[in-house]
């Protein structure tokens, strides 16, 4: 039992999520989209129609945030800060990578043992070909994607992970997350939520509840 918990807590897949800001934010937003509407629905102080309306609104808000974040913020800020880091820092600090995707793959390889890493580097990539010295078409290997410097680094027992580049990418992700979730997504959701709630019939409930309440208030005054 304890061994099982320890295995889960120290698993590589969980560690991959933990070391990536984007996956952390997506996971947190998904949980918010479940938790917040759930707590609204179990609140006994609110009437049923209001509960459903508030829960649907909160769920849609979090879902919009997640969608906006995944489709706009992540690609823009990830690529942007990677390019900025390439301009600002020296090559020995950030290595020689073509894209942020290649760097992410490099980091994954760094987390494996030297033996496994070397095996992966010798694997063929499906559907990608190159011409060899004799002019024949042969499949490209994983190591062909990397520059010779990086292949040399990957053949070391403890390869350089280039923390400055990783930090720059994470910095971009944090700035993007803050901008996306706190500033940009609320604006988009504001435009998107009310028509959807209206289409689902929640706005009608709210309006009818409001009109009945207002008529009751008028009656009381009379």
């Amino acid at each position: 039992m304890i061994n099982g918990i320890t295995k889960i807590l120290t698993s590589n897949s969980l560690n991959n999520i933990t070391s990536n800001t984007n996956s952390q934010v997506m996971m947190e937003t998904t949980l918010k989209a479940i938790g917040r509407p759930g707590f609204i629905l179990i609140d006994n102080d609110i009437d049923d129609d209001t509960k459903k309306y508030a829960a649907a609104k909160e769920f849609l808000y979090q879902a919009t945030c997640l969608l906006v974040y995944a489709t706009i913020v992540v690609p823009v800020f990830k690529k942007g800060t990677f390019k900025l880091a390439q301009k600002l820092f020296k090559p020995e600090e950030i290595g020689d990578f073509k894209s942020s995707k290649q760097y992410a793959h490099y980091l994954k390889l760094c987390d494996t043992t030297l033996n496994n890493r070397q095996k992966t580097l010798e694997k063929e990539i499906k559907g990608v070909y190159k011409t060899d010295a004799d002019g024949n078409k042969v499949r490209k290997l994983v190591k062909d994607e990397y520059s010779s410097l990086m292949v040399e680094e990957l053949n070391k027992e403890h390869p350089n992970k280039f923390p400055i580049l990783k930090g720059a990418v994470e910095f971009g992700n944090i700035v993007g997350s803050v901008f996306g979730l706190a500033i940009f997504a609320p604006q988009v959701s504001h435009l998107f939520i009310h028509p959807v709630l209206n289409a689902l019939g929640f706005e009608k409930h709210k309006n009818s509840a409001n009109t009945s309440e207002s008529s009751q208030v008028l009656d009381k005054k009379v």
Binding site: T6, L9, T10, S11, L14, N15, I17, T18, S19, T21, Q24, V25, M27, E28, L31, K32, I34, G35, R36, G38, F39, I40, D43, D45, I46, D47, A85, L88, F89, E93, K161, F162, P163, I164, L165, K166, G167, A168, E170, F171, N173, I174, S177, V178, L181, A182, I183, P186, Q187, H190, E213, Q216, D219, K220, V222
Partner: protein, 183 residues
């Protein structure tokens, strides 16, 4: 870029690259949300001022509650992992536990705390110190049925009196209505 600024940026990047805690991003999002969401709500021209104020305070309070909860649960679960995990797994396990703590905060603790704490806090903001639940009292009031035959309106109409200003505007004295004291 300026060298000092670049050095500072390099330091931040190095720190984040070596140890990017899951609490950093969630706390920074909560902090900015705590400022921006109420501000956006207050800028909404379609809502009534009272509703706007209420919603803005509620949103601000939610994020104020969220920031310390994220920190406490994140750091607390990392410390707990450091206590129980073997030495070689501590670094990896502590960080993973921090993420689990943050997730637990987002899923259960923060929504739960908000639904418990926000209502009394909002009552305090709106000076309802006696602890009267306005929503409940309103609900009770809504059960009072309006009378089927409302009180009939008084149909009294004022009697038209004949005007006494027979020579109004004629002569040296003009009439300006009734004056006490003569002039």
């Amino acid at each position: 870029m300026n060298t000092t600024l670049l050095d500072k940026f390099r330091k931040i990047c190095l720190k984040l690259g070596e140890n990017n805690k899951p609490t950093y991003v969630v706390m920074s999002i909560a902090a900015v949300k705590g400022i921006c969401r109420p501000a956006f709500t207050m800028m909404d021209k379609k809502e009534e001022p009272k509703t706007k104020k209420y919603t803005a305070i509620r949103e601000g309070l939610t994020e104020i509650i969220a920031i310390p909860v994220y920190w406490l649960l994140g750091e607390g679960s990392a410390k707990l992992a450091n206590k129980f995990l073997p030495e070689e797994l501590k670094a990896k396990g502590a960080k993973n536990c921090m993420l689990i703590g943050v997730c637990a905060a987002a899923l259960v603790v923060i929504p739960g705390l908000c639904s418990l704490a926000i209502k009394p806090l909002m009552d305090k903001f709106y000076h309802n110190k006696k602890g009267i639940n306005l929503e409940k009292s309103d609900k009770n009031l809504s059960f009072i049925e309006p009378k089927t035959n409302p009180i009939s309106q008084n149909t009294y109409s004022p009697v038209k009196r004949p005007s006494m200003q027979t020579f109004a505007g004629v002569g040296p004295y003009k009439s300006y209505g009734m004056k006490v004291g003569g002039v």
